[in-house]
């Protein structure tokens, strides 16, 4: 299946891809598969009931990547996709997913992706996810991603999510259960503008001894947009957990940060930090003394913050 110009543009925005990637990939366009490639170590197979795909990464696979972009350019399309990643023991792989919606029509376009990760013992995985919307139709661009993670003993997952532009409404849920020695690191970057709304909810259960999670969210809310950040960390063993929400508020936006940490074990060390505030006036003035206008200074500060 050939991708049209709009779909190619979306693909570049979410996956940085100009053409078909090397290695394993699955490209989904307007609800259908637009290309799939398995490799020696990575099998991508459709689920029998057609609801999604299984990605099976053989134990010991190192330095390989999987691209899983989704593009939607047809107005009014609503889809739910289940992707299950089975990452074998001792792997070291990068998974790049992302969703781009171009909605030029008046009906809502919606993509709900449910990604489950089963990370094997001592496996290391980096998961990168970008969300992007474009198009000037009145139809909303909606994405509700769910990420469900189980990390086995000694496993490590780094999750890097970005949603900077054009998604009208998003309700993101991330849940993780960590066994002994497992680590989860999350870096979320989010910007909303216009009347967009975003909810991001994390729930992490630190079940195993010496498991650890670090969840960092940096967000900017502009105009009339609203954001809610919820993070719940449960320490059920000797473990360490840290969540940090740092937000810049602009215009008439609204932001809530709701951190919750629960220690069910006396050896749980849990920390949460949350800060919401405007750009400091001094920051703008400093950049103006370097010759930037006030608007340029604001742009630089926001870009840096979300970098």
């Amino acid at each position: 299946m050939e991708l049209d110009a709009i779909q190619q543009q979306l693909l570049e925005a979410v996956a940085g891809l100009h053409r078909i990637p090397t290695g394993a990939y699955n490209i989904r366009a307007n609800g259908k598969s637009a290309g799939r490639n398995s490799t020696e170590h990575i099998d991508i197979v459709p689920k029998e009931d057609g609801s999604g795909i299984d990605i099976i990464i053989k134990p010991g696979t190192k330095n390989e990547s999987v691209h899983m972009p989704v593009v939607l350019s047809q107005t009014g399309l609503t889809e739910v996709v289940y992707n299950d990643f089975h990452i074998g023991d001792d792997c070291d792989v990068t998974i790049i997913a992302g969703c781009g919606i171009h909605n030029g029509g008046d009906a809502s376009s919606r993509h709900d992706g449910i990604h489950r990760f089963f990370v094997g013992k001592n496996a290391k995985i980096k998961y990168v996810e970008k969300h992007y919307g474009s198009g000037d139709g009145k139809g909303e661009r909606i994405m509700n991603p769910q990420t469900i993670v189980e990390i086995d003993e000694g496993g490590y997952m780094e999750m890097d999510t970005v949603q900077i532009k054009g998604v009208d409404s998003t309700d993101r849920k991330t849940e993780a259960v960590l066994k002994a020695g497992a680590k989860l690191v999350v870096m979320e970057r989010l910007m909303t503008h216009g009347t967009q709304s975003a909810v991001s909810e994390f729930k992490v259960d630190l079940e195993g001894e010496d498991s650890g999670a670090n969840i960092v969210s940096r967000s900017v809310a502009r105009d009339e947009s609203s954001q809610v950040f919820i993070s719940k960390i449960n320490g059920n063993n000797k473990c360490s957990g840290h969540s940090e929400c740092d937000a810049i508020i602009m215009g008439n936006a609204k932001i809530s940060a709701i951190p919750e940490i629960t220690a069910n074990n006396p050896d749980s060390a849990l920390i949460h930090e949350a800060a919401i505030g405007k750009i400091a006036g001094d920051q703008i003035i400093k950049l103006m003394t370097l010759g930037l206008t006030e608007a340029e200074a604001e742009e630089q500060i926001v870009n840096g913050f979300l970098k």
Partner: protein, 243 residues
């Protein structure tokens, strides 16, 4: 040349107007190295902020090379060639030292080019270039980066508000060299607010500001002995001679 003509600056207090600067007249010649000194709370920092455009004078005029810049904002003055190093440098989450140097230069210079400015202020460039200008840097490190941003701009008028604050004594000699080198290479005017004798000692001209007034101004040789004499007699004179 920058001329300050009858500059006054007032702020509203709870009950009355408080005059921070009163009828200041000052000329900063091209390529002149001028040090402003005087007691705390005398109006020195306010004067520097008025020059940078951060504060607008209540009355009076600023003339830069014959052009009235009194109504220009901070950005416009920066573009006309005025640079300002903050007394308390600003922190930025996410903005790196490299970003800040590039913004100062006004173009995307190479990493090696940016590193030179850091080396000049005594920072080991490779350790700092990719760091964020945030709370992980110490006060002294931030201060040096702040000075590097002004060096990188290389404008005809550079104003430093107490650059020595937070710089350890070991580095102090280097700081003096930075200003001397800057004076030689940029051929611009340098104005430093300082309490330090060693900085006063490299000035072409010293201006004393107290209670919002210029109480003395003149060549270093005229002002410095008088200042040191007033500041504490023989003890400080001795220190001055020894250093």
């Amino acid at each position: 040349m920058l001329e300050l003509k009858n500059i006054s600056f007032e702020v509203s207090g709870e009950t009355d107007e408080k005059e921070i600067l009163k009828d200041i007249n000052l000329v900063i010649e091209d390529n002149q190295f001028i040090v402003i000194t005087g007691p705390n709370g005398g109006g020195k920092s306010t004067l520097a902020r008025v020059i940078a455009g951060i504060e607008r004078p209540t009355s009076g005029q600023l003339i830069l090379d014959g052009e009235d810049i009194t109504e220009l904002n901070v950005t416009e003055r920066a573009k006309k060639g005025i640079s300002f190093a903050f007394q308390q440098p600003v922190r930025f989450k996410g903005v790196t030292v490299l970003d800040l140097i590039r913004l100062s230069v006004g173009e995307k210079i190479s990493v090696a080019g940016a590193c030179e400015y850091l080396s000049e202020v005594g920072l080991c460039a490779k350790d700092y270039i990719n760091r964020e200008v945030n709370a992980s840097l110490s006060g002294g490190e931030l201060k040096r980066i702040e000075i590097a941003t002004v060096l990188a701009r290389g404008t005809k008028m550079s104003v430093f508000d107490e650059p020595e604050a937070g710089i350890d004594l070991w580095s102090f000699g280097n700081l003096i060299k930075v200003f001397e080198k800057m004076h030689d290479s940029i051929h611009g005017s340098i104005m430093i607010i300082s309490h330090q004798e060693r900085i006063l000692n490299i000035a072409d001209k010293i201006v004393v500001i107290a209670k919002g007034h210029v109480t003395a101004q003149g060549k270093k040789d005229e002002i410095l002995p008088e200042l040191l004499g007033n500041a504490g007699g023989a003890a400080s004179c001795k220190y001055y001679q020894n250093s």
